[in-house]
Assembly symmetry: D2
Homo-oligomer: 351 residues x 4
C-alpha cells in the first residue's frame, strides 16, 4: 500500500480548501481502511468550503473533509468481525457511541454523543479513509461507485419518504437540490398518486420533472400555493416533504397541507423562523416529523432494495463526474449562483 | 323509468340460478336507486350458484344476487344528502348499522350487525339495484364501467397491500385469482422491491406475471418454498399475502416468512386448519393481520387514486365481457376446472 | 314541557353576557332536544364573554353560548335512530358535515366544514339545548352530571395523552388549566413513569400535584428547565404535552425534550411564534402532534372507560358548583387574575 | 477471586440435575464475569430438568443451566467499553450475532443466529456466570437482587403488554404462571380499564387477583367464555394476552375477542394446534402478534421505569426464596402438580 495519498484539506479557518499529499491514515482495532473509488459533494461540504457561520462554530482545521463515498476495504482492525478485506462498501456518516439511550433503542442516528464523518473526524475527499466498522455498509457490486457514493444522501431521501407514508397519496416536495430529486424518484417508486415538485432554479426544476414529479413548478415563475390548491380542489395535499429550510417554503408548505396531513421537516433553517403553530398544526390536526440522518440500518436495507431491484434510477442526478484533482471545478459548480448542477462525484484514482 | 327489469335470481335451495323479469326495486328514504352499467362475478357468487355448504347456511332464496357493479343514480330517497341523481357510482358492499362500537370508531367494515349486499339483501345482477346512501361511492367518470365495477374486490386487494407495508420489501403473494392479480399490481405500484407470485393454474400464473410479479410460479410445477428460500439467501420474504385459504398455501407461506415478518390473511379456509403457532408466529416474532372487506372509506380513496392517476392498469384481469343475458356462459367460465379466466363483467343493457 | 327557558346569551358585540328567558328550541328531523342537568365553562366561553379578538372575528350575536353539558333527551327528530327519549347524554361539540374527505375517513373531528356547538350554533348555557344526533354521546348513569358535563374537555386531555404514547415514559405537562389537570390524571392512569407538571398559579400547581404529578413546579418560583434537565441526567423527557400556547412554554418544552421525543401541541398560541425548527425538531429527530378536539368516537369510548372503571378521579378539578342563575359569579372565578379555580359547573335547574 | 464455584449442572441426557463444584469461568475479550447474587427458575429450566422432548432436541449436556439472574460484575474483557467492574447488572438472555438483517434493524431479539444463555451456553445457576457485554443490563441499585433477577421474564410480560396497546381497554390475560401475573400488574399499571384473568390452579388464580385482575377465574370452576361474554354485553374484549400455549386457552381466547381486536401470542403450544383462521382472524379483522423475548433494549428501559418508579409491585410473585444449595427443593415446588408457587429465587451465597 502506498504510504502517501491525495486529499482535500481544510487547512485554515477561512474560506477555501487545499489539495494536499498526506500520510494514509492508520486504523484503530475497531476500524477499517477503505480505498476510495468515488466520493461526492454534499451541501455540508459547501458550508465548510465557504466557511460560513455554522462551519466556523463546528469545524476544527486542519482536517480532511467529505463524507459521501464508496470504496474497497483494504485493511481491517483486530476487533473487526462483520467486514472483510475486499468488501465493497459505502458508509453511514453518523458515528454512534453505542451506549446511550438512543443507541440502545435502535436510534443510533440521533445518538447523544454523535460524531459525523468529515465534520468531527477526517473525511473521504481523499484516496483513503478510515471509518469505524459499525458505519460500514456492504454494497451490491452491481451498483457502480458513482451511485454507491451517494447512498448516504439518498438515504436521507429514503428515510424522509418512508416516514411520510406517501403511497396512493397526493404530495408536494419543496426543494430542488439532489435530495429533493432523490425523494421525488423514491416517492414515485413507492406509489405516490401525484407529486407536485416546487423548486427555484430552472435547471433543477427540470431535473425534478425528470425524476418523476407529475408537476414541477419554480417559485420564480409560479404562484405555487394557488396552483396546488386549485389542482387539489382546495383541499391541499396529504403530505409535504420540506427540503429547503426556507421560511417561504415552510409557510407555503403548511398553506397547502390538508387537514390531518403530515409535514416532514428535513431542510434546515439557518435561524429561527416565524411559525403559525395554531393554524399550521393544531387546528389542522397535523403532524410534523423531524428527519435527521437515516435509520441504522433499516433505511440502508430499504435504499439498497430500491437501487438493487431498479425501483429508481438516480443516475440523472449525477450531473458532474471528474477526477478528485479537479476538486475546485466541482465545488465551483455546486456553489455557483445558477445551480446548474445535481450531484458532483469525484474519482480519486484516474482511470 | 321502465317498471320491469332483467335480473339473475337464486330461486330455489339448489345449485344454479335463473334469468327472470321482475319489478324494479322501490327505495327507502335513506337509499338510492342505481341503473347498473356493469356488474361482475365474485367468488362468493360462485358459492351461491354452486349452492355449497356456506351458501346453504347463509342464503335465503328467492333473491337476486351479485354485489360488484357500477352504474348511474336514477333516484334518491328523501333523507339522502351526499348523493345526487346522475352520479356515477360503485358501492361498498358491507352495509353497516352505524351505531355499534366498530361503526362508531371508524371500523364500519367489521360492524357487529353487518349485512352484505347480494348476500343478505337483493343484489346487482340486474338492470337496477337499490343501496343505502352510506354505501355509495362516487366514481371518477374517466374510469369505464367495466373497471369501476371491480373496485370492490380491487379494494380488498388495496386494503391487504396497504396494511402490509410492502414498499422496498421482498414479498410473496399466494394465489392466482383476480384479487391476487390486483394485489400484485398494487404491490408493484407502491414499490415492493421484489414480488414472488405463487399460483396454481398456468393461465393465471401467466396473469400474475403480466400484473407485475417478478417471479411467478405454479405449485404444480415448482417447489416454490425451495425456490423462494434460495432466492432470498435462506432468509425468506418480509411479507406474505395469503389469498387462497388453502392449508398448503398457509403452511408454505409461513415457511418462507422472514423472522419478524408480516403474514396478511385474506383467503378464507373452508374449515379449521392445522397450525404451528409456535414456529410460525411466536418464535419468529411474526404478525398476522386478518383482512375483511375494505376500510370505509380510507381504502376507497386510496384505490381511486391508484386508478385515477393510472398507478395500476387492471384491465388485463378483465378477461371476459358479455351481456347480462349471457350470465350462464360467464358463470361457467368462472367455475370451469381450468380456470382460464380473470374477472367476468356483464353489461345489463346491450350496447 | 315548559315553553320558555333560562339561558345565558351573548346579545351584543361587546364584553359580557345576559341572563335571558327565551323559547325552548325546536329540533330538526336529525336532532335531539336535551334537558340540561349540568353545564360547565370552557376557556372558549371566557373568550366569548371577554369579547377578545378571536371572538370578534368568529361569533355572531345574539346567541346562546356554552358547549359542555350533560342532560336527558326529552325529544328526538323523525330521522333519529340511535338515541332515545330518556337517554342520559353528553355531546361531542364538533358538528361534522359527514361527507368531506376527513368525515369519510374517520376524522370527523377535523371536518372541512366543521361547526362548533355554542360557537357556530346556539349552545348549552340554558335549560335546554338541541344537538344533531350524530354528536350525542350516551353516558353511563353512574357518572354524575357535574362530571359527565366535563367529558368534552376531558376528551381533549384523553386524546392528547393517548396520541403521545406515555406508558413507562418520563413526561412533562406544560400548563395548569383544567385540561392540563385532566391530562395529568390520565397520564398517571396509563402508567407514565414520572410526570413533571409545569404551571404558573400556586393554587393550580397544587391541583396538578393532587391530580398525580410527581413533581409540580411554578415558573414563577422555579427554573423549571434546569430542574427537569437535572432530574433526567441531562437527557430530557420522552414526551412534552404543551397545554398553554405560551411562547415560553413552547420554548421550554423543546429545551427539555429528549432526542427522538414527542411534542404534543394542544395549547393555542394567540399569534405567530418564534420557532427554532432546526434544533427543536430536525436535529432531535422529534415529532410534533397537533391536537384538535377528540376522535369521534374512539376517544369517547376511551374516556368512558377511564371514568366508568374509575381509573381516574377528576372530581378535585370541579372546584366550583352553582345554579346557572349565578352565571356571573362562575365566570368571574374563571377570569379572575388569581386563577383560584379549576372547572366551574352550573346546574340549570335548582335542586 | 475463588477458583472454584458451586453450580447446578445438567450432566446426563436424563431427567434431573446435579449440584457440582466447578472452575469459575474464564471470559473472552468481549465478555464480563458476574458474581451471581440471585438467580431464578424459568419454565424453560423445568423443561431441561424434566428432560422433555424439547430439551432432548436442544440441550447438550454436560452444561450449567439457568438464565435469570442479578449480580455484580467482577471482571471485564479487554474489548468491553460500556460495563465496568462493580456494576450491578442483570442480563438479556438472547445473545445476538450482531450482523444479520434482524440485528442490523433493531430486532436483535429475533436474530437469525440467536443463542440463548443457559440453553446454548453455560448459564447462571452458579456462583459466577460469564456473559457477552452486549447482554448486560445495568440495574438500579434500589431494586433488590430477588427482583432484579426476574427482570428477564418481567420483560417478556412488559413486551407483551406494550405491544398490545391496552390502555383504557378491556382485556383478558389467559394463564396463571409468573409471566401472566407480571403481565396483569403491568396491564393495570398502564391503565387497562378492566382485566379478566383466566387461570387454572386456585393458588395462582388468587395471585392473579392480588396482582390486579379485576376478575380472576379458574377454568376448573367457571365457564370463563360465558362469563366474560356476559360481562362485556356479548361484544368480547379488546385484547387477549395468551400466556399458556394450551389449545383450549387459544380457542377460548378467540371466542372472547372483539371484532377488530388484538390477540397477543406468547404461550408456546407444544405441538400443532387446530385453528379456525376464518372465524378467529379474517372475519373478525383481528391481529395476532407473536412475542418472543424482549426488545433490546427498548423493553428493558420500559421495565426499569416500571420498577424504579414503583408503577408495579411484583414482590408477591416471588413466593419462594432459598439458598442455591436447596435447588432441588425449589425445582420441586415449580414442577409440583398443585402449582402452589410463583417465582422461586435462589441466593448462591448464603447470607
Amino acid at each position: 500500500m502506498a504510504e502517501k495519498m491525495l486529499a482535500v484539506m481544510k487547512k485554515k479557518r477561512a474560506s477555501g480548501a487545499e489539495l494536499v499529499t498526506v500520510d494514509i491514515p492508520r486504523i484503530n482495532p475497531d476500524e477499517v481502511l477503505v480505498k476510495v473509488k468515488a466520493t461526492s459533494i454534499c451541501g455540508t461540504d459547501a458550508h465548510i468550503y465557504n466557511w460560513d457561520e455554522w462551519a466556523q462554530s463546528r469545524i476544527h482545521p486542519p482536517m480532511i473533509f467529505g463524507h459521501e463515498f464508496a470504496g474497497e476495504v483494504v485493511q481491517v482492525g483486530d476487533q473487526v468481525k462483520r467486514i472483510k478485506v475486499g468488501d465493497y462498501i459505502s458508509a453511514e456518516t453518523h458515528i454512534p457511541c453505542g451506549h446511550c439511550y438512543q443507541c440502545l433503542t435502535g436510534r443510533q442516528h440521533i445518538c447523544q454523543n454523535l460524531k459525523i464523518l468529515g465534520v468531527d473526524t477526517d473525511g473521504c475527499f481523499a484516496q483513503y479513509v478510515r471509518i469505524p466498522e459499525v458505519c460500514a455498509w456492504r454494497t451490491d457490486r452491481n451498483i457502480p461507485p458513482e451511485l454507491a457514493s451517494v447512498q448516504e444522501p439518498f438515504g436521507n431521501a429514503t428515510y424522509s419518504v418512508m416516514e411520510s407514508d406517501v403511497s396512493a397519496k397526493v404530495i408536494t416536495i419543496m426543494g430542488d437540490g439532489p435530495i429533493a430529486c432523490f425523494a421525488t424518484a423514491i416517492a414515485r417508486a413507492v406509489g405516490a398518486a401525484k407529486i407536485f415538485g416546487v423548486g427555484e432554479f430552472p435547471y433543477r426544476v427540470n431535473l425534478l420533472k425528470k425524476m418523476g414529479a407529475d408537476v414541477a413548478l419554480s417559485i420564480l415563475t409560479h404562484d405555487t400555493v394557488e396552483e396546488i390548491m386549485d389542482a387539489t380542489s382546495g383541499e391541499g395535499v396529504d403530505v409535504v416533504l420540506e427540503m429547503t429550510g426556507a421560511q417561504k417554503a415552510i409557510d407555503d408548505g403548511f398553506k397547502i397541507l390538508k387537514k390531518g396531513g403530515t409535514f416532514t421537516a428535513f431542510g434546515i433553517p439557518p435561524s429561527k423562523i416565524e411559525f403559525d403553530l395554531s393554524n399550521n398544526v393544531i387546528f389542522k390536526g397535523a403532524k410534523i416529523i423531524g428527519i435527521n440522518g437515516r435509520l441504522m440500518f433499516e433505511t440502508w436495507f430499504q435504499l439498497s432494495n430500491l437501487l438493487k431491484f431498479k425501483k429508481v434510477d438516480i443516475s440523472p442526478v449525477i450531473t458532474h463526474k471528474m477526477p478528485l484533482k479537479d476538486f475546485y471545478k466541482g465545488m465551483e459548480a455546486v456553489i455557483s449562483s445558477k445551480r446548474e448542477v445535481g450531484k458532483v462525484v469525484f474519482f480519486p484514482e484516474e482511470k
